[in-house]
Symmetry: C2
Subunit: 195 residues, 2 copies
């Protein structure tokens, strides 16, 4: 991205968006170098070459900024099919898990570091849970609720519990250094839908 | 335990067993005070009042000693019914999860700290996995294989995947600061056995 960006004229691009990108990149670099506990708002501001107050205006806490930096690209949306409509049911769950896999292949190590940091810092654990964990848990729960309404999942099963089982095995394997691949995504979706 | 122990005569108790207990208690105290990264074999030896070489003779690495200290009481055995035979099937899985719950109520915080430490230390992650994670995963896998042989679980389902789903949701909830209670153990066992 850097090359073509540099050649483009700067007019028309809001300066705070440029600063935002520089800040997120600085935060991500520092996270990788020093870990969450070793990063400060002051160090991120210095690395990005912006005033510290600029950061506080936009991100109230270090947790907000680091979460934003690590998960900027991942979004919270369900994956879409080429036609635009997101897949549903077992195929939809598999597509969601493949999307998570792609993310973990790039940012699995920062995510492991963030989960580790959250164990020593309850404020950060709450931020991670509210901004990262729960939205993703909700995507799967909602998908399973819709599947249940169509009769694809038995009425007595709890979509919230199933969603936590699905996310749980991803965390468990990530934190144990085990592979997460497309075959696993397919097996999990098949197990949840009982096929 | 301390009070009645103190009054018992020391004769007949092997001295290295006493030293072992003092060392494990020192390791556990220091883990709680300083976290895994802040603990050293030298500090544990000093706190326990034993020679450093004694520790190295028994525990080749800090990881071995800390794992031994934190998980000494938990064992690796399946829970037993009053009659002596361990329960099987859905009741057996629920009993195993209740046993894990009891352990986490006491040592959930050290376990969270150990999982966090493992994310920064691949040697320790391998030790944690070999000595703590895999034996527990195996207990559930074996229980599910036996259940499958009795026809309680459909032949196409993978007991290894199911075991990781079960342990995964425990890790996920533990690391997210969510409650782990008897109702959850019952719901997980019911979901796995489809009842």
């Amino acid at each position: 991205m850097g090359g073509s960006e540099a050649r483009r004229p700067k007019a028309g691009r809001p300066p705070d968006r440029q600063a935002g990108r520089a800040v997120r990149q600085a935060a991500l670099q520092l996270m990788r170098e020093k870990g969450y506990a070793g990063v400060s708002i002051a160090a991120i501001a210095a690395r990005a070459g912006v005033a510290r107050q600029t950061l506080y205006n936009r991100w109230p806490t270090k947790a907000d900024l680091v979460l934003d930096a690590v998960f900027e690209e991942t979004g919270r949306n369900a994956p879409a099919l080429p036609g635009g409509a997101p897949p549903e049911g077992q195929a939809g769950l598999e597509a969601f898990l493949l999307q998570v896999l792609g993310h973990l292949q790039q940012d699995g190590d920062p995510l492991r570091a963030l989960i580790a940091a959250a164990q020593h810092d309850p404020v950060f654990r709450d931020a991670l849970r509210a901004r990262f964990v729960l939205p993703r848990e909700r995507i799967v729960t909602d998908l399973l609720i819709r599947a249940q309404a169509r009769g694809e999942i038995a009425a007595h099963r709890d979509p919230g519990l199933l969603s936590q089982l699905v996310h749980g095995i991803f965390w468990y394997r990530l934190l144990n250094g085990q592979e997460l691949d497309a075959a696993l995504a397919r097996e999990i979706a098949a197990e949840i839908f009982g096929r």
